[in-house]
Subunit: 270 residues, 6 copies
């Protein structure tokens, strides 16, 4: 973790030196802070505050959550590594820390989730609301999310109350992990490790997306998806067919290979 | 209406007592106000204000609209009841009032619509723009919307100028009720009472969605949909077939049953 | 250009006279400024500023970019004309200038792109991040965009790093011009002149969308689309068939005809 | 009252026309409002608000106080007339309404005083604190103040809890109406009608300043001052001597004649 | 200390219950905080922040200073007791904590002084500047100030770089403890314990104000003042005469007796 | 001028390096700017803005005034040199530029004065009002002020409409240059070059303070003061007597010698 923080500071120093117009921003958000948790708390507090939820209150809240729940911070580091590793547009750790709304939304969600598990639900929901307003990312505070998560672009992501997301999952924008109706209870997805969910995919109901599965962009998925298979289309079909779906070797949540199925899929294209 | 307001105050009192960090927020938004219209005006004004549209100006505008158009406020109460009744994640009225961007966007839209019908169009459009920026909900001020509306999650909803939405309709996020081109005139949908429109559905043109119809998540609908039928897919097909579509008994806009068609739909799934 | 600015001032004067509640807003954003570049710089700076990126800094940045890169401003004028011409809901130039998040996001992107080409990448990315937060429009600063662009509704538009968009293109909301994985390099679309991309369409990979093509709402497009043809569905098919696709005469990016293919498409509808 | 408001609007219109850079300010503070009470409430709320006392809350508070206590507003009108009549630097009513910190401090004090008399003391004191911070004018909310008051320049004025100020009094900056120690009870001045208190004068204790008296700049006054006499110096002496002080005919609170005593006073000047 | 904090919370609870309009303010500033140092840090940070010195930065700074320098906090408690004890207008501890600009300025000064002694002079001076802007209280960060200090009304107090103020001193508004010219070095006052300095008094140069002395309002003091004597006038004279000045028994800094010398002084009054 | 700006940047660099908590502030106010006029415009705009007078508007206003009136900027440089030279507490040019409210108030006044002479009086008065609110310095925009001015501490300074202040004048806090009544016309002081006016001095009427004169702290001056003489007391007397006042050789506005007259004055002290 300290290695990543050292990197972030070095990057911010380099950028502040080369771009005076940004130096004030970089000092206030990164360079004036002694540690990642303070930098992240400061940045989230200033992003998420409003005239009725002051930045100082949120700053306090984030700082305390990070210090009492160290796994929240280590998950943030895993997410930084994931973004840097998987997203070719992610040019530096500091770029992700400061500018990725998906990254910031997930970190703020983790704090909301801590509050939820402490039965501080009204506060968790207020924080949830601010994340949804500011980042257009709507993750219910009860949802459980692993580490090494990449929400790429992130706008419009919706994750329901009883969803569970594994580790090393990559989710593009406009993705919905939604429920099935007005009944309560466990009504959302279980997303396995290493899954990749393409842009605009909609997954509804308490179904299981097997580890390493790939959900094609725009898919509407209503039934379980076996591990390391690919679904495409609306309604979603398994590439290779329901009976003998094609299985891939790689972990798409990490390889981010969105389109390898095109050749196979072309069979469906008129 | 007064019953709902009494409930909201009781909930806010309970939450303020149990969560001191949120008490300031709850007092400023709810507990310091003598009535729902003041609370809602205050909250919307602080959410939608900007450096060039001050909160005091918006507060005035909302207050006056609520007082001169009492149906706007009674529709808000119907929406609160709808959210509480239909959305299992909605734990209280105050949660909806404070945190649901769909609820807040609809209430602000209703005021923009009042302004539109009063030929105060530049102001209506400026308010529309703020709603679109802050909530990522883009409802043209001319659109007519019934009561008992639930915009669930709400991010990315777009409703065009000549759209008409009935009562007790539920609309998920990323739903588009769009036009057909650059011609003006009546070019948007007529959505009947009790309709449910799933996440990411796109409905284009001046077509009629019959009452109690269900539009499946991700559908792209370009033709009329008969009452109490279900459409799925892109392009959208009627479940049960064009000739003899299946008809359901329930009102999906109220039951929120998104996925009952899965078994039937599985016929289309390869 | 000066004709458009004269129009904008006349419209704003008319609106300020008829609506005192909006006059302050219109004077601060339009009527107090001697030229379009100052008005636009002021408006963008106040929209995009945050507690860590001050409005005065952004104002300076926009002003200087407009003055040193006059094509950025002339492209803005072309976009104003495009919105006014193509969008029946666009009632005036000033309405577009002040209220269209798509218009504002594109203008701010053009400045971010100038910074990017000047190797001021950290600043370009910080500006990109603000545009994505405020407008929910996520255009990578490296993406190249022509003039006469209409981003209608705009929420949720994502345009990747190596995308190139021609002139007179119209793009609806929720449209993705995305990449193919974690490899860098040229991995995004080349969108020809006059293309229309419908709401919710997802286009992935370094493919070519021929000039005057029409991408139907909700399409998921993974392969090249010939000029003046139409794609629909998920996966996207060419209307008229892969072998002999129908070709249209009009330029859909300008005519905005979203739905003319319905009759043809109905063949696919069960 | 309506005549003054009509004048203010006419002045603001004239200034907005001649100075576009100020038009936004004039519309938001004056021209968009239908009445003086709304304009004044808006202006005070935006001046006195802080991150923990929101402008909308203060706006509500001022509006209600003005509507339930009409004498507060009529006193404001009397103060506007006083400033316009007595202060040669006061070029217009709107100038006083918008820019005179003494005028604004007195109006806000009157509302704080209303709250005090309603036993809403914590709110009165919070408002008092904001007035002291923003205007550097510190009038205890319990102090009773007449009408036709001019606080000229106003910075540093201090008025204690049990002070009573008559009508048509003019008070310059840095004036103290202070107490005598740590005992409570009635321990401050009774200032008669038409008194003029010069810059930097300090008056201590429950003494009586007779009507039409003039307190010279820099005086330190510890004993009663007879009507229509003048005090000068530190400690203050009566011009003309204790036994047969000179008496003037004019009302110095209205004539604002600060220096007519110079010739007499020169006797004391070495 | 914990007793005072318990009192403050009880007062704030009582006031929040009786005045809903103030409850939000009281929760954010007092009731949501677990300890006095957090409440005070929050309040000062929100009072002193600006667009270029963010509240979160100041909050951090105050919190750390209070935790590493516990005497700063204990001095704050002594000041609270002093205000409550000496000022009849101080109705509660929470009133002083929240509303007394003199109290707040002194606490912020103590933190600036800590920074100064740590050779963090630019930060100390920036904080000093904010205190001077916001509270109109200008205490050089190098000045040394005891405990049990009351700055009553406080506007316009100026304390120079090498001034030293003892314990249990009370200073009214507009008081200057100033230097003698452009030479550096030790050029300011040494104010003994228990001194009372009346409104508008000006004390210049490195002179000694003996313990328990009383400086009359408006005095201009240029020479040493013996303990327990009183000075009045401009230029200041010792009451009772230079040779055998009257000596009082009480400690005027605590008794706040401003005016007992009137009878004696009347000898000088013509 | 460029030498001073180079110094300021060097100082700010040094301070930013030694104090990360202040670096953001120093970059935004100084280090990101290419020239003194931009830095000063930025800093003043952010200090003086309000919710109804936006920082971007003020920034524009200051920038244009500095560029069209270069003497305004050269006077600012002279003031920086004066503060650095005369005030032992002024540790650096950047300290003065950023933190001295007297310096900032004078620079903003100069711009208000430019507006006044251009007959843009409403804007000049609005700016005047902001200066008075923010810095508690109240200089009428019509007042003419020389260069090399030091307003030390500055709180409470009041300068009337027809006052004229020469070059190299030093004025302490709480100083009043006031009028004589409600008559208009030329009614304020003419202050010669090199004058020093001590804290709390009050000068009333159209009198002449000869060059190099010294006005003692707390003086109340109502009659002309000959060059290079000293006045003390209330009412003010000439040190050395009216007939043959003592004359000093130095220029007290530059030497800042406040107290050399003590020995002579002691004759008056009882």
């Amino acid at each position: 973790m300290s290695w990543v923080w050292t990197q972030i500071k070095a990057e911010a120093h380099r950028d502040a030196d080369s771009e005076p117009a940004l130096a004030s921003y970089l000092y206030s958000t990164v360079l004036s802070h002694p540690s990642l948790d303070r930098s992240l708390s400061f940045h989230l507090a200033n992003k998420l505050c409003s005239s009725t939820l002051l930045s100082t209150l949120l700053y306090d809240l984030f700082l305390r959550s990070f210090s009492t729940h160290p796994t929240v911070l280590s998950a943030a580091v895993a997410d930084l590594l994931a973004a840097r590793h998987r997203d070719p547009a992610c040019v530096s750790f500091s770029h992700c820390l400061l500018n990725y709304k998906g990254f910031l939304a997930v970190q703020a969600h983790r704090v909301a989730h801590v509050l939820w598990t402490q039965s501080r639900r009204p506060l968790a929901l207020a924080l949830h609301s601010r994340i949804a307003d500011v980042f257009s990312v709507d993750i219910h505070p009860a949802a459980r999310i692993g580490k090494g998560i990449l929400l790429d672009h992130a706008t419009g992501v919706v994750v329901g109350e009883t969803a569970v997301i594994g580790n090393n999952v990559s989710i593009l924008h406009h993705v919905t992990l939604g429920g099935t109706g007005k009944m309560g209870g466990d009504r959302h997805q279980k997303i396995g490790d290493g899954v990749l969910i393409g842009a605009g995919a909609t997954i509804l109901g308490n179904i299981r997306i097997g580890e390493g599965a790939k959900i094609g962009a725009g898919s509407v998925v209503l039934i379980d998806v076996p591990p390391r298979t690919t679904t495409v289309g609306n309604p979603a079909r398994l590439v290779g067919g329901k009976e003998k779906p094609s299985r891939h070797e790689d972990v798409p949540g990490e390889s981010m290979d969105h389109t390898s199925f095109i050749s196979e899929w072309s069979d469906y294209i008129i």
